[in-house]
Amino acid sequence: MGKLGKVDFVPFSKVDGIEERLKEGKISATRCKKCKNIYLPPRMDCPECLDEEMEWVDCEGKGTLVTYTTIHAAPAGFEDDAPYTICLVDVEGGGRLVGWLDGKEEDLKIGMGVSVGIRDLPEERMIYFVTPEE
């Protein structure tokens, strides 16, 4: 699938267009052409109108910290990364994403403004990174 995340569990998805957009540094959602609902994580079927006419929209990469945790007991594939801090971010323009913190857990405050970027990982994979704003 879209090369998003450190480990890949899903080889195929209708959302395969995301890979290219990630490479271009875009944080992308999909929007139903019919009902205009925005989906982040993106999806290609609209559960509202049951339609599959979707278009890509890009987000600014700004958002609000919803919650977070630092993982000390890591699952397979993440042993060497622990401890790492996972952040949930409500993105301006709609939707939510999960990203890794660039910074210290101590500096986080739920509700604070954050910016979201994309970083390269080994094996051509990419991951969202979250940076607290001043």
């Binding site: 699938m1 998003l4 995340g5 450190k6 480990v7 890949d8 569990f9 899903v10 998805s13 982040l40 994580p41 919803v66 919650t67 977070y68 945790t69 630092t70 993982i71 000390h72 007991a73 890591a74 699952p75 397979a76 594939g77 993440f78 990364d81 622990a82 401890p83 790492y84 996972i86 949930l88 939707g95 939510r96 994403l97 999960v98 990203g99 890794w100 857990e105 739920i110 509700g111 991951i127 969202y128």
Partner: protein
Amino acid sequence: MRTGVIGIGHGKFGRREVTVQELAFEPFREALDDCGLHQKDLDALIVGSSPEYHRQRSLSGVVAEYLGMNPKPTFLVEAACASSSAALATADAYIRAGIYDTVAVLGVQKMLELSTPEILALMGRVGDVQWESGFGTTFPGYYAMFAHRHMYEYGTTREQMAAVAVKNHHYGAKNPNAMFQKEITAEKALASRMVASPLTLYDCCANADGAACMIVTNEETAKKADTPIWMAGLGSATAPMSVLRREKLSEIPSAIDAARNAYKMAGIEPKDVDVADVHDCFTIAEILAYEDLGFCEKGGGGKMIEEGETHIGGRIPVNVDGGLKSKGHPVGATGVSMAVEAVKQLRGEAGERQVDGAEVALMHNVGGIGQYCFVNILRR
């Protein structure tokens, strides 16, 4: 037409050096003994389990064979950690439809036959594998994020969470089927190693092997039993699997909906509950449960444990069987385990853990991180 519980059985939870079908046999035998029935008196076997943990594929067929249930129908019902509550609700449906008269509902899970790498790999796929698991989310990690949000919104403290662990181990020490039969202190809990901040080891329940069984039957047959226990209210609901699609992260929305449905069907209010088993897979989960079930107001869960309202003698005793926290959490067995404990309370057979005069018992069984919740109310 009501469904009644007439037989119960509960195995020892923990590390069990037996096969999954041998594990299932113990409470099945006990439940049959309990109501004086034989396999031939049963119309079907419904198994609740989470198949990912077993090397044996298509479990219910193998278990049906081992229990001597052929040629009676069987199938497996799965809703993650709430699998056997879903199985119980399904048995109720088959009985109320008049399709079966008497059904054995078995919750069973053999978790500890996988190797550590296999378990770690499984753990890595606990969330939405497309959008979340690739970031290294874990089961404790999700509840940790709920905890941080709850702390932020309501000022809940790590000490309040530790108090849940202390209470549940206190009662678990009196439950011979519990994995951990020993008391713990708040100091020890707070000082244990961090798993996913703010949750430490003692905030988390443990994987376990385990099985529990229940014989349920139609009203006519149940009335002939000494002390039939009635399935008075069954509620179930879902919420988005993905935390990326949940509106609030300081509650389990499926629990709120499931509880509403169950109370309505039983015709009761939260204050009518005499004893409850709630899904304390993590200490924060029990605090969320108090609120989601309406035992206290939103945000009041931390205070409720602090003030001892959920101890025996308190307003609504919760998890006086030790909860998942001290019993261990054999995923598919947990729902029926809760129900078996509820039946013991309502029969007055809970020994040292008995809540005097309990007439109404509630079970709250959450699947996964809240994508399912089943709330069942039993009464005497």
